[in-house]
């Protein structure tokens, strides 16, 4: 059974820059350039209906080029791998390279995010027991509805040079947690400097207690599933 360090996490990153007003005119040329210059084996490169370029990469997820951002989303890895600097640098360098290939535009913002998906037996009840019940009672004046279909919460905070957003979404099937950290482009020399300062390890440590509760509930579900199959 997976521990937190071995659990699946999706990493996303973004470099926001001043708008390239010629992007949609030159997107085909840029797509060809990206296909040539980036990883030797991009699986698929497309230009969507909005004119944005999307490249399916085998090692860092999907990278997307828009007029004002270079984005990488869906790098599937584990918290254990994220503690290795070289692995993180590979992801960072790919995104950095994408931003540079787009042209010299002043960087406005950096961000990095973590996404977890947990599947305990009853995610909504679990979250209600762990604190959301009191919120529902507060809203509904002690008459909290017995059944709810979904639950969403979003929290933002400032932490030094960073702005954090923590989002939780739960339904009857799963519970999803997103933790993203962003910073002003002018405050960092490069994306790598930003990511090092943002400290993925610290972000993971903050999420660990909550994630372990959900992972334990997942393990419990799987164990009872196995036991019922053995009978």
């Amino acid at each position: 059974m997976a521990t937190f360090d071995e659990s699946l996490v999706s990493v996303s990153g973004r470099i926001g820059h001043e708008r390239d007003f010629t992007f949609y005119k030159n997107n085909v040329d840029l797509a060809n350039l990206l296909q040539k210059e980036l990883s030797a084996t991009p699986k698929e490169i497309t230009i969507d209906t909005d004119g944005d370029i999307e490249i399916e990469m085998s090692d860092v997820g999907t990278i997307i080029a828009t007029p004002s951002a270079a984005i990488a989303v869906g790098w599937l890895t584990t918290p254990k791998v994220l503690s290795v600097q070289q692995e993180v640098e590979k992801f960072v360098n790919t995104l950095d390279r994408l931003a540079k290939l787009k042209g010299s535009f002043a960087v406005e913002s950096y961000s990095i995010g973590l996404f977890f998906r947990f599947r305990p037996e009853n995610p909504l009840n679990l979250l209600r027991e762990r604190g959301f019940e009191s919120s529902l009672q507060f809203i509904f004046s002690e008459k909290a509805p017995p059944d709810i279909a979904s639950l969403k919460s979003s929290t933002t905070r400032s932490k030094g040079k960073f702005r954090d957003t923590i989002e939780l979404e739960a339904s009857s099937k799963d519970a999803r947690v997103r933790y993203s950290r962003s910073g002003n482009g002018a405050g960092f020399d490069s994306y790598l400097t930003f990511v090092v300062a943002a400290s993925l390890r610290e972000m993971l440590e903050e999420l660990k207690p909550f994630a372990e509760i959900l992972l334990a509930a997942e393990r419990g579900l799987r164990l009872s599933g196995l036991l019922s199959e053995m009978k």
């Binding site: 699946l8 996303s12 999907t62 989303v73 869906g74 599937l76 998906r117 196995l226 199959e229 053995m230």
Partner: protein
């Protein structure tokens, strides 16, 4: 000789002005105004009412303010009889059902502001769509991986009693 020529031209001009002024002030018929030609047009109607004041000489014409502004303040007159409503045909923009713009055409600056507002709306929508797409991509990747991993797991050993 030139003096005679100039004098005669002036006389003709003054007489023409006098006659024309008389015709305008004393006639009920007005020339129909010019409406700009437009490649696609739709005939429509505009009702005009002749309202005379007590003195019997003033005539007011009511027409759509929006229409008037749309055609840069050009006014159109139609033939009508005093005290009665008459319908006249005018041409204006657009195909299908005639429709007036919600806002009258303003100055170039106002048009620029409107264009900018529209562009901003389009941009905000694009940003919103991008965010939704990124979330969906992320969730789908994780879900696919988790489901694929589950399918690969070996089956639980069968216990034989």
């Amino acid at each position: 000789m030139y003096d005679v020529l100039i004098l005669s031209v002036m006389t003709v001009g003054i007489l023409a002005m006098a006659v024309f002024s008389y015709k305008i002030f004393h006639s009920r018929a007005y020339p129909v105004g010019m409406v700009r030609e437009i490649p696609t047009s739709q005939h429509g109607t505009l009702e005009l009412e002749d309202v005379s004041d007590q003195e019997g000489t003033t005539q007011r014409i009511f027409y759509s303010d929006v229409w008037a502004k749309r055609h840069n303040q050009e006014t159109a007159y139609g033939l009508f009889e005093k005290g009665k409503k008459r319908k006249i045909h005018l041409r204006f923009y657009g195909g299908g059902e005639p429709s007036f713009p919600e806002k009258p055409q303003g100055s170039p600056l106002e048009e620029k502001v409107t264009e900018h507002e529209e562009a901003l709306k389009v941009y905000s929508k694009q940003v919103e769509n991008l965010e939704k797409r990124l979330r969906r991509l992320e969730a789908e990747r994780v879900q696919k991986f988790q489901e694929a991993t589950e399918e690969e797991k070996p089956e639980a050993p069968q216990v034989v009693h």
